[in-house]
C-alpha cells in the first residue's frame, strides 16, 4: 500500500468538506486546520509580507511564528495553523498586515 499520513494513522475521516481559498474550492478533511488543508493541496503560501511583498505560509506549525496568518471570513491575521477549517470558510491571501486602519 502507498505510504501516506492517513494510511500510517489508519485514519478513516468522513468525507471532505469544502473551503474556499482565493476563490477556488479546496477540500478539507474534518478536523484539519486551515493550514493543514492548504498543505494537503500543495499550497505552501497564503500571505505576502508587508515590507518586501514576499510569499509566506506555515513555518512553525504550533502557533508561535505568526507566519501562517491569513484573512479568514473577512478577519485578517488569523493563525491558520491553529484554526480548524469549517465548511464554507473563505480564506484569502493576506497582504501586508491585513488592515490599513488598525494595528494588531
Amino acid at each position: 500500500m502507498r505510504r501516506t499520513p492517513t494510511a500510517l494513522a489508519a485514519a478513516d475521516p468522513g468525507p471532505a468538506h469544502t473551503i474556499e481559498f482565493d476563490g477556488r474550492p479546496i477540500p478539507a478533511l474534518p478536523g484539519q486546520t486551515i493550514a493543514a488543508a492548504l498543505w494537503a493541496q500543495g499550497i505552501m503560501a497564503w500571505r505576502r509580507t508587508r515590507v518586501n511583498g514576499r510569499p509566506r505560509g506555515a513555518f512553525c506549525g504550533i502557533g508561535a511564528c505568526f507566519d501562517c496568518l491569513a484573512t479568514v471570513n473577512g478577519q485578517p491575521n488569523q493563525r491558520t495553523c491553529l484554526l480548524p477549517a469549517e465548511p464554507g470558510d473563505t480564506v484569502t491571501t493576506q497582504e501586508g498586515h491585513g488592515r490599513a486602519d488598525l494595528a494588531v
Binding site: 484539519q32 513555518f59 506549525g61 511564528c65
Partner: protein
C-alpha cells in the same frame, strides 16, 4: 467585562500546559485530592510530544505517530476520571497571557480557537508546564515557503495528517531531527538526507550518563534502523547553508562544517527537494515566569531554563515548574518532573526514591544532549548581508550589523530598538537567539515582556490595574 464560567472558581492548583509535564502533574495532584484547573492553548491534551490527530480524522492507529502511546492513554484515562469527579477542570483553548501574583494567584487567558474570548481564574498555586518552541538559526532562503520547522513538520503531520512536501530535507541539530525524519518517511515522504550540524562526539565522553538511560539508547537505535531501512543518509557536521527557489523551495545547498560550525569552503553541494524541515534544538517557554522575576539558569545548549529545587519550586513563591520549562529534556523527564511537582505542591513528606532517581538520570542525560548539540559560533559564516534574520519585520543581517558596528549597539535589546528585529508578531521567538548572537551578547537575558502572546485590546482595557511585575499584590477584584 466578559467573563468565563471558571472565573468564580478558585482552585488549589492551576496547571498551565497539558503536555506530558502538565498532564502528569494535574492527575497526580488530583490523586492527592487537590482541585485543579488544567489550562492549555490547544484543543487537545498531549502537548508537543503526544500531539495527535483531531478526533474527526478518526485515526485507528494514532500510536504509530508516537513512542509511548500507552503512557498517554493511561494519563488521559486518569484525566477523564478526575474530570468526572470534578477534581480537574480541563480548559482547552485557554492561552494564559498573564499571571498576577496575589493570594490567591490570578490567571488571565484569551480563549477560543481564534483567541477572541477572555477568562480569569484564581488558584493557590501555579505550575508552569508550557514546554518549548524551536530554536531557529537563519540562512539565505529560510523564509521561502516550503521551509518549515522540524517540529512544525512533526506537529502538522501528527495533528493534521499532512506533509510539507514529497522530498523533504531534514537539517539543523538535536534529536528532534531524527524523530522528524522517521515520521516523515513513515508517512510517505522521501528524505534525501538528514544533516546534523553537531558531531555527536559530545555523547562519547560521558559513557556513564548514557548507560544510566538505556531507554534513550534504544530509541536512538530504533530511529537509526528506521532511517537505514528507508535509505536516509545521516550526515554529521553538515548544514544547509542556503535554500533556493522563487515562490517555493526547490533545493538546498549543504556544506560540511568544522568544529565551530563554520562552513568548510569547497564542500558545498546541492540537493533537490520541495521542502526543508529545519530546527536547532528547543527553547524553553518561560515568559510567564521570568516576567515575575523568576530566576533562570543557563543550560549547556545556550538556552535559559527556570531554576527549580528538588520539589520543582521556582524562586517565585507559589510558582512551580516542570518539563521543558526547566530545561529541554524530553517527554519522559517531563512526566517525572510533573509528578514530582504535584507531590511537592500537595505537601507530600517524602518523594519516591525511584521517581527522584529517574529525574536525576534523565536530567543528566538532558544536559549532555544539550552540550552535544549546542550551536557553534561559526554558524554566522553562512549568512549574507541580505539574509533576513527577523522574519516578521524583515530585518536583514546588514541592518543588524549596522546597529552593532556603526550605531554602537552591544546587546539584543538595543539592536531591537534600532532595527525592529524581534518587535513583530512573534515577539522575537523566531529571531531572538540569532539576534542575541549577532549583537555580540554571550548568554541571552531573560525575557521581561508583559504578555506571553499578542492580546486583544479589549483584554488590556478589562484588566484590573496592574501593580508592577515584581510580585506585589494585585488590585482586589469583586
Amino acid at each position: 467585562m466578559p467573563t468565563s464560567p471558571s472565573e468564580s472558581k478558585s482552585f488549589d492548583l492551576a496547571v498551565i500546559g497539558a503536555g506530558p509535564a502538565g498532564l502528569a502533574a494535574a492527575v497526580a495532584a488530583a490523586d492527592r485530592g487537590l482541585r485543579c484547573a488544567l489550562l492549555d492553548a490547544g484543543a487537545r491534551p498531549g502537548g508537543q510530544y503526544y500531539r495527535h490527530p483531531a478526533p474527526e480524522l478518526r485515526a485507528a492507529r494514532p500510536d504509530r505517530l508516537h513512542h509511548h502511546w500507552a503512557g498517554f492513554a493511561e494519563l488521559t484515562e486518569r484525566l477523564a476520571r478526575h474530570r468526572d469527579a470534578e477534581r480537574i477542570t480541563y480548559l482547552t483553548h485557554h492561552h494564559v497571557t498573564l499571571l498576577e501574583q496575589a493570594e490567591p494567584w490570578r490567571l488571565h487567558a484569551v480563549t477560543g480557537a481564534d483567541g477572541s474570548g477572555l477568562a480569569r481564574l484564581r488558584a493557590r498555586a501555579v505550575l508552569l508546564a508550557t514546554g518549548a518552541y524551536e530554536r531557529q538559526l537563519p540562512f539565505p532562503g529560510w523564509t521561502l515557503p516550503g521551509v518549515v520547522t522540524a517540529g512544525g513538520a512533526q506537529a502538522m503531520l501528527k495533528a493534521g495528517l499532512v506533509l510539507p512536501g514529497r522530498r523533504v530535507v531534514v537539517a539543523g541539530s538535536g534529536p528532534l531531527l531524527l524523530a522528524a525524519a522517521v515520521s516523515l518517511t513513515a508517512a510517505g515522504a522521501r528524505v534525501p538526507a538528514v544533516l546534523e550540524a553537531g558531531d555527536y562526539l559530545g555523547y562519547a565522553g560521558r559513557p556513564a550518563v548514557l548507560a544510566a538511560v538505556p531507554g534513550k539508547l534504544a530509541e536512538a537505535v530504533t530511529h537509526g534502523a528506521a532511517l537505514a531501512r528507508h535509505r536516509v543518509r545521516l550526515r554529521r557536521s553538515s548544514a544547509v547553508v542556503e535554500a533556493h527557489g522563487t515562490d517555493r523551495v526547490a533545493g538546498v545547498t549543504v556544506a560540511r562544517l568544522d568544529r565551530q560550525w563554520r562552513p568548510v569552503p569547497g564542500t558545498e553541494r546541492r540537493i533537490d527537494c520541495d521542502a526543508l524541515a529545519i530546527g536547532h534544538g528547543l527553547v524553553p517557554q518561560l515568559e510567564l515566569a521570568t516576567e515575575l522575576g523568576a530566576e533562570t539558569r543557563l543550560v549547556p545548549d545556550g538556552t535559559l531554563a527556570l531554576r527549580v529545587d528538588a520539589g520543582q519550586r521556582t524562586t517565585v513563591p507559589g510558582l512551580w515548574a516542570a518539563g521543558e520549562t526547566c530545561g529541554v529534556g524530553g517527554a519522559e523527564l517531563a512526566l517525572a518532573e510533573g509528578e514530582l511537582a504535584a507531590l511537592a505542591i500537595a505537601g507530600a513528606d517524602t518523594v519516591p526514591a525511584a521517581l527522584a532517581g529517574r529525574r536525576r538520570r534523565l536530567r543528566a542525560f538532558a544536559e549532555l544532549m544539550a552540550a552535544a548539540h549546542r550551536p557553534g559560533p561559526g554558524w554566522t559564516g553562512w549568512l549574507r548581508p541580505d539574509t533576513e534574520v527577523c522574519r516578521c519585520e524583515e530585518v536583514p543581517v546588514e541592518r543588524i550589523a549596522e546597529a552593532v558596528e556603526e550605531l554602537g549597539a552591544t546587546d539584543p535589546r538595543t539592536v531591537k530598538l534600532l532595527t525592529r528585529a524581534g518587535m513583530g508578531w512573534c515577539q522575537g521567538r523566531m529571531c531572538g537567539p540569532a539576534v542575541a548572537c549577532l549583537s555580540g551578547a554571550g548568554a541571552p537575558g531573560p525575557d521581561r515582556r508583559p504578555f506571553s502572546c499578542p492580546v486583544p485590546l479589549g483584554e488590556l482595557a478589562a484588566l484590573p490595574e496592574l501593580t508592577g511585575t515584581t510580585g506585589t499584590t494585585g488590585t482586589p477584584e469583586n
